[in-house]
Amino acid sequence: MKRLLALLAALLLAACASPGLRGTGDLGLVIERASGSVLVVDTTARAILGRVEGLGDLSHASAVFSRDGRFAYVFGRDGGLTQVDLLERKIAGRIIQAGNSIGGAISQDGRLVAAQNYQPGGVKVFDAGTLELLADIPAAWDDGKKLSKVVGLADVPGNKFAFALFDAGEIWVADLAEPRQPKLAKFRGAGSQPYDGMVTPDGRYFIAGLFGEDGLALLDLWRPEQGARKILANYGKGQEKLPVFKMPHLRGWTVAGGRAYLPAIGKHEVLVVDTATWQEVGRIPVKGQPVFIMARPDGRQIWVNFAFPDYGQVQVIDTLEQKVVQTLAPGKAVLHMEFTPRGEAVWISARDDNRVVVYDTASFARLAELPAQSPSGIFFTSRAARIGF
């Protein structure tokens, strides 16, 4: 009997220790948009570790990471904010914070998670540990009579968040040095219908793409007293616009080697902009209307995916040659791409083929294919350490 007990105790100890210690630096999430689930993936093993379910409506969902890389905060369309434990592969916390949400950000110090909402239009700020609401920032405009949809939310240095107001055409910067008492700086007349925003990788410039007019709005966060100004205001002049079947996305990954690679709205082009002067220095023709334009972490390549109906393909631009050097067909309805932390591989989601394809970025060989249900966004923990992610 005694021996049996000892054996049981030994087994129990082994079971408790069995998950083993591991880091999260090579982990990530794949959003399964239609089934309200996420896959936890390992980019070293190129494997799915498990599925976490119960995250609600994940169409247009995105994720940010706690700075220890253990938790993902997933922002769902239905206003759900879900904290996912990547190691235990379970939901650690979940709230419904709005009626209609479009993404979020985590603060410089990692203590605050902010969500940007369409309904009710505004930004809400939560304690990253407990998901307690700390600040509610309604995007009021038109003398406070209306609330604007909020887009382009990005964390910027100084524990601030910058974002744009789609309906109002404004850029706001919220200073959360005191989280329960946010201080707002509002830049009115920034531009018509901003559709998304980004902060440059150094945290200096916030840029909002404009749908309602040609050009982009640029705010120098080091010199905010200069206000928001228009850049590339003439890039579409005199040309007939093509209809836009999906809004492009902006993030800091579009900056490489002193140049920003930006989507031309309604055109089959990538615009190349010098980040010292913010002048256009070139245009690169591509297959379709760009949605994501992402630099490989070393900046040598730019990968581009496209809006409906050209979303079966992905193109690769060589930044030395400034032209497309590769066209790939990962599957039907390519929605997103994510580079491994140092960029030797890229993971691409093909929604209608229910798979994620992993490519070698040097040889363009297919390294792996992983099954996923209607996969959309792919997010790796390396985002935890980057400004604007």
Partner: protein, 117 residues
Amino acid sequence: MGSGKPVRWVVACFFAGAMVAHDDAGAADPAPERAAELVRMVRQDCGSCHGLTLKGGLGPPLLPETLSEKPDESLRQTILHGRPGTPMPPWNAFMNEAEAGWIVRQLKQGFPEETRR
């Protein structure tokens, strides 16, 4: 042609006839395969702005209660030709008028879910 087909055709024609009689602006429903494509297009591609559940996003909600007051014809024109001054693009390169009309009717009744493949 299989032995079951003529019967199915008769049934399809009967329903198509009933549809036309019921709603003179509309036409026959699209064939099941095409209908599935249209449902997928609305859920996924329209859904990128209007939301997968059509509760709205950058674009307004497309739920029966939000559309009930709007005339079918103006909704059909919006789908086919877009709305200038807004991000809504024209979809007439990807569907014909009858299919746009069918989508409007489905939206007003509560849009079907995609059938899982």
